[in-house]
């Protein structure tokens, strides 16, 4: 392995096992983060529609706070405060909470897109409020939100390199470590980019197909 080459296939091959290990962490963080975002986002959307000011106001303030501060700062801050938890867990939760604020808007739009007639039919049948939400409104609203959920999942996936800042060895961190140990960064970083592309692009094609099917 000579150091003068602009590109070394040897380095590209050597870094790969570490990157694949990192990819699993990246995927894990995205999946767990997205589950948190999907559930918490739905909760926020439904609570904000309740019209009860004692809950809607604090929730609105929290949402605004999370949205107005950078993800990177939130990660580092949470990692400093909750030292008793593993960084990976903190990373997943922060990603989830951050994206929950965006997902809540997607749900909100999905809920608003359910025609008034659906609510009115539920009243005419005297369905209880809770049943109206779970059996009538949410099944229709969530169908509308699936593409948005997919797009945010891709977006979250691409933001996982921020976990570098709290020492989670995901793909990007693995590349940085390889670069530092071998004084060769270009292959490692290029391969990271390629792996991201390899996952993101097919996923976005899938999301687009879903969008077309639901349209």
């Amino acid at each position: 392995m000579t150091e003068t080459e602009a590109w070394s296939w040897d380095h590209a091959a050597a870094v790969l096992p570490a990157l694949v290990d990192g990819l699993w962490i990246t995927v894990l963080a995205t999946v767990v983060g997205m589950v948190i975002a999907a559930v918490l986002g739905l909760f926020v959307a439904v609570v904000r529609r309740s019209g009860l000011r004692v809950v809607t106001v604090p929730v609105a303030v929290l949402v605004e706070f999370v949205r107005s501060t950078p993800l990177l700062v939130q990660l580092v801050f949470a990692n400093l405060v909750f030292t008793q938890f593993p960084s990976l867990a903190i990373g997943c939760v922060v990603l989830g909470v951050h994206y929950a604020t965006y997902m809540s808007e997607v749900y909100r739009a999905g809920i608003d897109a359910v025609p008034r007639g659906q609510w009115e039919a539920a009243v005419a049948l005297d369905l209880p409020r809770r049943r109206t939400w779970t059996a009538v409104v949410l099944p229709q609203a969530i169908r509308n939100t699936l593409p948005g959920l997919g797009n945010y999942a891709i977006s979250m996936f691409k933001e996982t390199p921020f976990l570098f800042a709290i020492g989670v060895v995901e793909m990007y961190t693995a590349a940085q470590q390889y670069g530092g140990n071998n004084f060769r960064y270009i292959e490692a970083i290029t391969m990271v980019g390629l792996l991201f592309l390899l996952v993101s692009y097919p996923t976005s094609l899938l999301v687009r197909r879903l969008e077309n099917r639901l349209a």
Binding site: P115, G117, Q118, E120, A121, V123, A124, L125, D126, L127, P128, R131, A135, V136, P139, Q140, R143
Partner: protein, 259 residues
């Protein structure tokens, strides 16, 4: 309990309804006897739909009382003041009132059968098997037995409306509200829906309050027509009478325009 044979199924006592500055109903009084099939007619924007929506608690009256079977429904007088009746108590009356909408409003995330059994199971607590059996009978009655497991979006407008009627009937309502139930349908689909409604009128004693601009429908199904204008009932009569020899000048004018 004032549940005698003479207690009207529906009573409006001085009911007022405004939307902002727009006074739609102003001290409206009328009643519908149990088992009556009453058609409301009147110019567009006169408040016919509003009356049905008040009865379904989709709108809230600003004044007056609405009684069902002689009992206060949405508001009552307590200590000389008009106070809203809590949701829990309203709900018990509301489940005896059914409504069929112009736009059907079936739940598209459910099959035809699921639409019909949803409320009997989750509101009345009917066992599932029993609810399914009732729903199948009703589907048979509206001529859609073979559509039991279809998605509602796969049905024609006329079929959807017949499912909506079956869905309302599954709650075994005492009062059925019908708001322009055929106006969103292609002309060739209207007859089937009307046949179903005529059948209900003939075979049940459900009190029906109908809003329609189809005077033929009013004639065939109802036994009383209320002409509604300017927030008031200005004439009421048997359909034959009102359609052949209306007394009020406004009624004459209105019927000349629509007949």
């Amino acid at each position: 309990m004032p549940e005698t044979a003479t207690t009207p199924a529906i009573q409006f006592q001085g009911v007022g309804k405004r939307f902002g500055d727009n006074v739609v109903l102003d001290g409206l009084d009328f009643s519908v006897a149990a088992g009556d099939r009453v058609t409301l007619i009147g110019p567009s924007g006169s408040g016919k739909t509003t009356i049905l929506r008040l009865l379904m608690t989709l709108e809230e009256a600003n004044d007056g009382l609405i009684l069902v079977d002689g009992q206060p429904y949405t508001h009552e007088i307590r200590g000389g003041k008009r106070v809203a009746i809590p949701e829990k108590r309203r709900s018990l009356v509301r489940r005896r009132v059914g409504m069929v909408f112009q736009q059907f409003n079936l739940f598209p995330n459910m099959t035809v059968l699921e639409n019909i059994i949803e409320a009997p199971i989750h509101v009345l607590g009917v066992p599932r098997a029993e609810a399914v059996a009732t729903a199948e009978d009703l589907l048979d009655k509206v001529g859609l037995a073979d559509k039991r497991d279809a998605r509602t979006t796969q049905l024609s407008g006329g079929q959807q409306q017949r499912v909506a009627i079956a869905r309302a009937l599954a709650m075994e309502p005492e009062i059925l509200l019908l708001d322009e139930v055929t106006s969103a349908l292609d002309p060739e689909l209207v007859a089937d829906v009307l046949a179903v409604l005529r059948n209900i009128a003939e075979t049940t004693d459900i009190t029906m309050l109908i809003v329609t601009h189809e005077m033929q429908f009013a004639r065939e199904v109802s036994n009383r027509v209320l002409m509604f204008d300017g927030g008031k009932i200005i004439e009421e009569a048997h359909p034959e009478e009102i359609f052949t020899s209306p007394k009020n000048e406004r009624t004459q004018e209105f019927l000349r325009a629509v007949l």
